[in-house]
């Protein structure tokens, strides 16, 4: 059974969402960042529903965004944002960081359920594709700036992913990428990749 992390500081609302989800999923619930981190480290969380306005700053998205970055960097699970923060910057930051969905309260429970199902479907499909050797790499570009920055961003992301997968083994990475080692060294220098940064990230 999927275990969903439900981070929501409103006790009443959390109880209702938990009740709605608990028939289909196992729910790990938290009202703040510290408790969420505890649960993430102690349980096998497979998906997260996250409120951005968390204590001690319930009226700004900072705490939630901090937690979102941490989850995406360290656990790589799908995160659905369910928040009252309607600011454009919070939505932009969440989507840019890699949140799967951004739902603004109040939202119907059917919509939340639909979003959860989609997140699971996407995750499963990505896993299947990954087993077939295909990886989904996403990156942001400014369309008006032509193809060169887009090409570079794509190259950068693909090389970074392969280096991460091979623990910065240049020989293996070059083989996987189908390039000469010298060319890979050139790209590593060009994009400023360092073994310690990649190790720290992974």
């Amino acid at each position: 059974m999927e275990t969903i992390l439900l981070t929501e500081d409103d006790v009443a609302l959390r109880a209702q969402i938990r009740f709605a989800l608990e028939e289909r999923f196992q729910i790990a619930e938290a009202g703040n960042v510290a408790k969420s981190l505890n649960l993430l480290n102690s349980q096998n969380i497979t998906l997260a529903i996250l409120d951005l306005g968390l204590p001690p700053h319930e009226n700004t998205p900072e705490e939630g965004l901090r937690l979102l970055h941490y989850i995406l960097e360290n656990f790589g699970i799908k995160v659905i944002i369910l928040t009252g923060q309607k600011t454009e910057s919070a939505a932009l930051e969440s989507i840019k960081s890699g949140a799967f969905d951004y739902l603004v309260k109040p939202v119907s429970m059917e919509q939340l359920m639909f979003s959860i199902d989609r997140a699971i479907l996407f995750r499963d499909t990505e896993e299947k594709l990954s087993k077939q050797g295909m990886a989904k790499i996403s990156f942001g570009i400014e369309v008006g700036k032509g193809l060169q920055p887009a090409r570079e961003e794509a190259e950068k992301n693909i090389i970074l992913k392969v280096l991460k997968d091979t623990n910065f083994n240049v020989y293996k990475s070059a083989k996987l990428l189908g390039v000469k080692r010298e060319s890979l060294y050139y790209f590593i220098k060009k994009f400023g990749f360092k073994r310690e940064d990649i190790d720290a990230d992974s």
Partner: protein
């Protein structure tokens, strides 16, 4: 000898010249006095019009006529307002115009006699009038901007709570339609029991925020609130190290006491995030019908502490600045007093409240456990 003769012949001339100079001097003094009086009257009129230039400007014409000015005309715009009075076409006028990002002022006068000493008189009045208009506009823009800023903060604060309540209702409706079997029914009732106190605190918070400044007395049953126990619960809720001692019970609506002490202790909790390890102590004293509560932390002093109860004053980026204002407002409405000061041992809050009438039917206050996240 020659000098003496010269003096004798000019004697009369000197006297006449002196007398003329004196007359001119007195006349100029009279004119200057009149100009200053007009200035003062303009300042007074502006104040009487509550610094509203739309009311003030029509009164200016009558005031300035005695100061060598036939009439004034203007073209002023600020915010969404525009005021204009066209000037005469064929007369000699003096005009000045400034344009700033938020406002523009064009002010002109028609002098009675544009040359000579009169110029100094009407120019003093003209400069003063220009200054008054600009000050009024700046004051209005500042007040409007502050009000809009505070309103947006208040709106964001309320929206957060209202959206959560609305989302709760949506969840409730969804769940009611899907309960099947006695076990789920039981679980649903359990979840409602868990939700109800937190929902009540949330709606109380919304109500007390909306009622800030309202003189309406709330109706509702009072109950005995054990202040030491309440502060202890709040310390536990916010994970604050410290202790609450003493005894004192107040008979009032409990949510009011929760709001007062929650705002004080939440303030200390936020401080402890910046200064880890600080402790907090509360003493409750019951003296001849007055309950005094002293709460202090062991942290650093607070800058501008005298402004802490000012509405919308906050040192936190995400703060609204109404918590302590709201707390003191409640205390004062209950006939008490609330102060804060930097002392040798730390920042100290003192709340004094009348004990109130304790009836035999009063309900004892329950714990605030429902608050816990």
């Amino acid at each position: 000898m020659l000098t003496l003769k010269l003096l004798q012949s000019m004697y009369l001339f000197v006297i006449v010249a002196g007398a003329v100079a004196l007359v001119i001097l007195f006349y100029l003094r009279y004119l200057t006095n009149r100009a200053f009086k007009v200035q003062l009257r303009m300042v007074d009129a502006n104040k009487e019009c509550n610094y509203d230039i739309a009311l003030f400007l029509p009164r200016v014409n009558d005031l300035v006529r005695v100061a060598e000015i036939e009439e004034i005309f203007y073209e002023i715009s600020y915010g969404e307002s525009t005021l204009s009075k066209p000037g005469p076409e064929k007369k000699r006028t003096i005009m000045r115009k400034i344009t700033r990002p938020d406002y523009s002022i064009g002010l002109g006068i028609v002098p009675i006699s544009p040359r000579g000493y009169q110029k100094y008189i009407y120019m003093i009045i003209f400069e003063t009038l220009f200054l008054l208009i600009e000050m009024d506009i700046l004051m209005k823009i500042k007040v409007a901007n502050e009000a809009l800023y505070n309103f947006s903060k208040l709106q964001a604060f309320l929206l957060h709570d209202v959206k959560n309540v609305t989302q709760f209702i949506k969840g409730l409706i969804y769940n009611i339609g899907r309960i099947s079997g006695p076990e789920r029914e039981h679980r649903f009732i359990e979840s409602l029991k868990e939700s109800a106190p937190a929902l009540s605190v949330r709606t109380d918070k919304i109500l007390s925020t909306l009622e800030i400044g309202s003189e309406k007395d709330e109706e509702g049953d009072g109950q005995e609130v054990d202040i030491a126990r309440l502060t202890k619960d709040l310390f536990a809720l916010y994970d604050i190290k410290g202790e609450a001692t003493g005894r004192g019970t107040i008979f009032t609506q409990k949510h009011k006491m929760v709001t007062v002490f929650d705002n004080i202790i939440k303030n200390i909790r936020e401080k402890s995030a910046r200064e880890p390890g600080i402790e907090c102590f509360a003493f409750v004293r019951d003296e001849t019908g007055i309950i005094t509560v002293i709460i202090y932390d062991t942290g650093s002093p607070i800058k501008n502490i005298e402004r802490m109860f000012e509405p919308f004053y906050t040192t936190k980026e995400s703060g609204l600045g109404i918590g302590l204002f709201q707390a003191r407002h409640i205390v004062k409405k209950l006939g008490g007093n609330m102060t804060v000061a930097n002392t040798d041992r730390g920042v100290e809050f003192t709340v004094s409240l009348p004990r109130g009438i304790i009836s035999d039917n009063a309900e004892p206050a329950s714990q605030i456990g429902a608050y816990a996240h």
